[in-house]
């Protein structure tokens, strides 16, 4: 297994390199630049601005220079949009917020999603299943930009239990985490139900049952292992997404997280910030997909590390 992980980590280097390079050049071909503004900047000023930010140099020179700074110094450069902050600072500042929001939402999603999914699968095609599945479907049908404001209207404005938005006290965590958690809970519930049903009828489960194993033991010891495969595959990229923040939730609730930077940096053509967030996200995706592959082997003893 260690060899497997070591090989995968080695593979990460070219993957990150390709992502970085592709993103660097992609964003330069997008119309509009960091200094495109409603009040047009005069050509002289634009020339001076580009010189000040080294944008007047040939693209490959900018690229090699950027690469050198990232690889040798871990320096992601200054932000174009926020000139008094560096990309490293912005990420260091905002990632913890998104991590916290994501971790709490993930907890809600896992607990609620797995419970609903397992219940629905075990009692498949009974009323319990219908209730659980429908609850999950509501989570899917209610987009976050609807659920968030609804929760605010109810709990903040009608009942006065929470603030409409902000990220100050513990109370401020509840509504955004709930909103974000609900969507993922719904996905997890659906995938768990599907995965469990696949497994519950497999021969080895029957064998276990025939051997007289109790229902709970069958579910948790045997069925859940195989049944979680699709959920685990889904969770790799999903966790990367959830931990790096959600644009919609962070905007609706005014949360100073990284999710807004992901989307806004592209809109602002903040070249360095785009690259910084992409590198971070890529690293997370790669790491989590590696974890998923390891977990999959662990869940399925028939597999071996190749």
């Amino acid at each position: 297994m260690l060899r497997f992980i070591a090989r995968r980590l080695l593979e990460t280097i070219p993957v990150l390199f390709i992502i970085l390079t592709a993103t660097f050049f992609m964003i330069r071909f997008v119309p509009g630049g960091p200094f495109t503004a409603e009040k047009a900047v005069t050509p002289e000023v634009m020339r001076n601005l580009e010189r000040a930010y080294d944008l007047d140099k040939p693209l490959w020179q900018q690229y090699t220079r950027y690469l050198r700074n990232v690889v040798l110094h871990g320096d992601l450069g200054p932000s174009f949009k926020y000139p008094n902050r560096t990309v490293n600072e912005i990420i260091a500042d905002k990632l913890p917020v998104s991590l916290e929001l994501g971790a709490e939402a993930l907890l809600i999603a896992l607990v609620a999603g797995l419970t609903l999914g397992v219940l629905a699968a075990v009692k498949s095609n009974t009323w319990i299943d219908y209730i659980c599945s429908s609850t999950a479907m509501i989570g899917i049908c209610l987009p976050t930009f609807v659920l968030g404001p609804l929760l605010v209207l109810l709990f903040a404005i009608r009942l006065g239990w929470a603030n409409a938005s902000g990220w100050y006290g513990p109370v401020d965590r509840v509504l955004p985490c709930l909103t974000l958690g609900c969507v993922y809970a719904a996905y997890i519930a659906r995938l768990t139900r599907g995965g469990m049903l696949e497994v519950l009828h497999q021969d080895y489960i029957r064998t276990a049952r025939a051997k007289g194993a109790g229902q709970l033991r069958v579910i948790f010891k045997h069925a859940l292992r195989g049944g979680l495969l699709p959920v685990v595959s889904f969770l790799g990229p999903a966790i990367a997404g959830i931990l790096t923040g959600s644009f919609v939730i962070e905007t609706i609730f005014q949360i100073p997280g990284l999710g807004r930077e992901f989307v806004n940096s592209a809109f602002n053509r903040d070249y360095t910030l785009v690259l910084g967030t992409v590198i971070l996200y890529a690293a997370l995706i790669i790491a989590l997909n590696l974890v998923v592959d390891v977990v999959q082997v662990w869940l399925n003893p028939k597999l071996k590390f190749e």
Partner: protein, 329 residues
Amino acid sequence: MVSLSPQNLPSADLTTDQLERGTSLWRDAWHRLRRNRLAVFGGTVVIVFSLTCVLAPWIFHLSYQDQNLDLGAVAPNAQHWLGTDTLGRDLLARILYGGRISLMVGLVASLVALVIGVSYGAIAGYVGGTLDSVMMRIVDIMYALPFTIFVILLMVFLKDPMQAVDAWLGRFSIFGFHAFEGMQGVGKILLLFAAIGAVEWLTMARIVRGQILSIKKMEYIEAARSMGLGTPRIIFRHMVPNVLGPVIVYTSLTIPAVMLLESFLSFLGLGVDAPMSSLGTLIKDGSEKMEEFWWLLVFPGGAFSLTLFSLNFLGDGLRDALDVRASKD
């Protein structure tokens, strides 16, 4: 002839009756599906709603774009069954026309994602080794590339081909009948499919690969291999049908995601041009006015939910129907 479907291979308990009737996986499934009342209900709703949307111009007299500014937004009444929006346009008409777009985008883009994701994941999982590594690292790369920028680039570089498609459709005629006249923006819709398909297949591929790995070592696959069947045949005939359960479940989750993604893409300028709308954009607009004009959120949201519920019932039914083992319990 008995089709060599994976279920038949290992099962000694197949009745001769079934063998004689030449039951195939699909026919079996169809039988079981028809017995599942929820699935039948779901399927009926989907078909009825789709037909209503497609036939809207012929069966519904109000237009999605005729404004009545002095009327403004009014609650449901005898004339406008679902009320009107702030520009006085009939909401039912807008939902029906929006439903056309959303259903088309949801179904076609999900299908694109499904086909790419399943083939890709199955091949990577079955072949394994270096090919698997390379293919899955490509998936990692695709995950990480910034989607917003990708979409903007797609629009910039494919703007001319898009317009060429539109122009060609505008000129296209059969026996002097201009079938696609006035269908501006078809090129944009095609591009929309490409953009969505390009991202949505990734998770599908990973799920399928995981499933394929888990059944790769099972007896019937070994048996098929020992019989000297070709790799493509093994993958698509024997392995893919066995991982259809999670695939169907995930597809039924992709459809709503795609429909909502469409409203984000229309913000980027990709999608249908105003005044045409989609369910996603109607819901988005409605969510900002929910306190004043509840019907602008409730009805588009209702249509969206009804479609998704139905699709999921149908999906669950399909999953159950394709799960041969379940039927034996």
